[in-house]
Symmetry: C2
Subunit: 296 residues, 2 copies
Amino acid sequence: MTVPVLLVLAQSTPTTDGSAPSPATFVEADLAAPQVSVLDLGVTRGDGIFESIGVVDGRAQALEPHLNRLAKSAGMLDLPAPDLDLWRAGVLRSIELAGDSAAASELLVKLVLTRGIEGGDDVTGWVLCFADVSHVDAREGISVVTLDRGYRSDVAETSPWLLQGAKTLSYALNKAALREAERRGADDVVFVSTDGFVLEGPNSTVIALIDGEYVTTPSSLGVLEGTTQAAFFSDVEARGGRASYRPITVDELRAADALWLASSGRQIAPVVSLDGVPVAQDPAFTAAAEERMLAR
Amino acid sequence: MTVPVLLVLAQSTPTTDGSAPSPATFVEADLAAPQVSVLDLGVTRGDGIFESIGVVDGRAQALEPHLNRLAKSAGMLDLPAPDLDLWRAGVLRSIELAGDSAAASELLVKLVLTRGIEGGDDVTGWVLCFADVSHVDAREGISVVTLDRGYRSDVAETSPWLLQGAKTLSYALNKAALREAERRGADDVVFVSTDGFVLEGPNSTVIALIDGEYVTTPSSLGVLEGTTQAAFFSDVEARGGRASYRPITVDELRAADALWLASSGRQIAPVVSLDGVPVAQDPAFTAAAEERMLAR
């Protein structure tokens, strides 16, 4: 089989004859056919969560951190805790079904979990393995603008109902921010807080090189824990470099020696300009780091 | 036919023989079958908009304001402008198909428009006419808590990419706020801004009676223009009362002589307590106003 591969979550079904119910499982489904009800809270309210996992040479990248983040997002939305063994098996099965496609190209596996049909008992879930071509050019470098996220940097602690730090399906705002970036002639966005701190991109983690140290925003500021950024930090530290989590001011961002946006789809994309101002590059460093990360 | 009735948007299809393409139209669909692709941006990103229109005695309430708000939301999300004649016809057709159900009970018609399948050319749309039973009890009075929305009151003007004032499918946060209200033993939420102004409910408009005047928050503060609240204001003014749009401080809210949350599903639900403090009631006034509004 070639990509895309779609697996949908089939719920555990109780039996009437007293025998053990069949366990929940992922089953192959037809991507060309509709699979989601118009009553599903995933579509009527964006009420669900997702993860996107990179696949390189048939290997899922940072699978466990992604699964753990799925569970964390579920907790923040008061969704039933996902059975991570089941989801892991779904991811691996989708890659297996992708067959030669998985070995030949970079894929993404997207996991989606919604609250299901309003008033119903079951969540909705699926795993989609597909070839991601949207970000390949990003590795050449991206132009970025800063946009106000409208929130203080402490909002995740003061107002958890705002769901900052959960990876939800309610991403209309992130898409609108990317359109605003396009209107400004840029490729991507770095959200900043009203009190002057760097947050994250709509689909990425910000990494800045400041005074020889690689730094990123801690999750306490209401940003997602970046799986690709974490892999990069591991690589930096394995090679004797310094990496740390701490709040970064917008002024520090503008003065940084180098910047990257990290995401599963495009690894560590170097930022070539910030609000129209060129940012210094080290293509050889970025290329070498990505090569090591892709070899994980 | 009885409710629910589902109509889905069938796109205009070009012909190959040079004849005129068939126009876009709404066609009946099976609510029991899935209708939405897992690739639809409505479900993968909450990237779409909606409206909910009350139906009383077979008549759609505030149909034109709802259609106009749909168009406004579409503009804010850079979606193709909806053909309002088409959507109006879809709403009326769904009520017609509901037949006796429409005359016998209060219904809601929900309009959903998404950006469609990622990378595709067509939007996705549907109209669902169904019996709304979720809010009937609300007319007896609801308990409400204030929750910080995390934004300043001027955020819609400074940061339009945050989509405040658009009625989007990205409502996970609104659902989370309602769960927080439930944890606090309350029925509903009034969002407040970080600078101390009243915004709106997750699914409703706030109306306060202050010094003999009915007041609500202006849309310039990034809240939805309330269709039910507008109908209430018209009723107030038709009877010689005073109604106005102006920023309301949280202190004013707490000191108000009466409060209501207005929405299509439950009309003007009286607030019986705010953050645990009882709020004065005038059941006869509320009942009479609702009766007049429902007779529109």
